[in-house]
């Protein structure tokens, strides 16, 4: 009796798609569902930051007042682009960054789709483009940070207006950039494991799908970071 129970547990633990209840809940594997729940918790972290941004912004005089501690106008703050000298080009560079992230999300979906067809070469091809997109995005962010620090923006003050603007900008875009960086590292690991044939031997490319969820989440967060800092 005890022996059969142990044998049964071991058999269930070894099959990945059934969580030992005979049928996987919501037809999702354990790993995929846990990735979703991690992303929900991460959403709340980002939401906490962005809601703090909203509250602190409402606690400052609006842009239109022109007071020294008024909230800065994004068209004035984010008006520099590489290779254009001191030309004033509001929002041009961040548009490039946004399109880069959207494009790398698309290449990630393509990698997942090739994974479902067990096409190892296809997965690797699209993963490389995804990683490249992520690197360009983080590099662009580094350039923008360097530029703004050069302009005199610090966590405690900036020449554009409300001091809290700098602190919130570095906190939130930094936290997002850290997520992108972690995503790049995970993508490189998955690319390597694809290359050495780990998923081929496993019989499915679900790991690509799971890191894909994380990568799209990073894109999703950027929609709101972009809206809060560059548009509103």
């Amino acid at each position: 009796m005890a022996d059969t129970a142990v044998a049964h547990t071991q058999a269930s633990a070894s099959s990945e798609d059934l969580w030992s209840g005979g049928q996987a809940p919501v037809k999702a594997s354990y790993g995929k569902l846990m990735m979703w729940y991690f992303l929900i918790s991460d959403t709340f972290t980002f939401a906490g930051f962005l809601i703090a941004y909203a509250a602190i912004r409402f606690a400052h005089p609006p842009m239109a007042t022109g007071l020294p501690n008024a909230w800065p106008d994004p068209n004035e703050v984010f008006s520099a682009t590489p290779l254009t000298g001191h030309a004033k080009l509001p929002l041009v560079f961040v548009t490039f960054m946004t399109f880069t992230l959207i494009a790398s999300s698309v290449t990630m979906v393509r990698a997942v789709q090739e994974g479902t067809r067990m096409n190892k070469k296809g997965v690797m091809f699209w993963m490389v483009w995804t990683i490249l997109g992520g690197v360009v995005f983080v590099g662009s962010q580094a350039w923008e940070w360097t530029h703004l620090i050069h302009e005199g923006m610090t966590p405690t003050g900036n020449p554009f207006g409300a001091a809290a603007f700098g602190a919130l900008f570095f906190l939130i875009t930094g936290f997002h950039g850290a997520h992108v960086t972690v995503g790049i590292i995970i993508n490189v690991i998955v690319l390597f494991q694809t290359w050495i044939g780990t998923y081929e031997r496993r019989g499915h490319y679900e790991m690509v799908e799971k890191v894909g969820l994380y990568w799209h989440f990073v894109d999703l967060v950027w929609v709101y970071v972009f809206m809060a800092f560059y548009l509103l």
Binding site: V26, F44, S105, Q113, L220, L231, L232
Partner: protein
């Protein structure tokens, strides 16, 4: 991952979402720059609130397409979709409550210096 649609069809759907996201982003940037360059200061101040409404609606649309197609939520079972989306209802309350709180901090500051 079984979606019941062909590989070619899922490729087409991804390209469709790419075009939608690109167009929506271009509209957002275009609206922001047109508002900045073509309106007088008074007109900018008067219309900013409607511009912000546009940005919030378009960002929600982008979030919808990223979650439904890229994150594949459209093709998952309903209970999974609901358990992922339901917690976000709390955020609606939090956004309203803390924005209101922020306005009241500004009033307190103006009142007491």
């Amino acid at each position: 991952m079984a979606t019941g649609i062909t590989h070619e069809e899922s490729k087409r759907r991804v390209m469709r979402v790419l075009i939608i996201l690109s167009v929506v982003t271009a509209v957002e940037i275009g609206a922001a720059l047109a508002h900045y360059y073509f309106l007088s200061f008074e007109a900018q101040v008067a219309t900013k609130i409607w511009l912000n409404v546009l940005f919030i609606v378009l960002s929600a649309a982008k979030a919808y397409y990223i979650m439904s197609e890229f994150m594949h939520l459209r093709y998952e079972l309903k209970p999974l979709t609901i358990s992922v989306l339901a917690p976000f209802l709390f955020l609606i309350w939090a956004i309203i409550a803390f924005s209101y709180e922020g306005v009241s901090w500004l009033e307190l500051r103006n009142w007491f210096g």
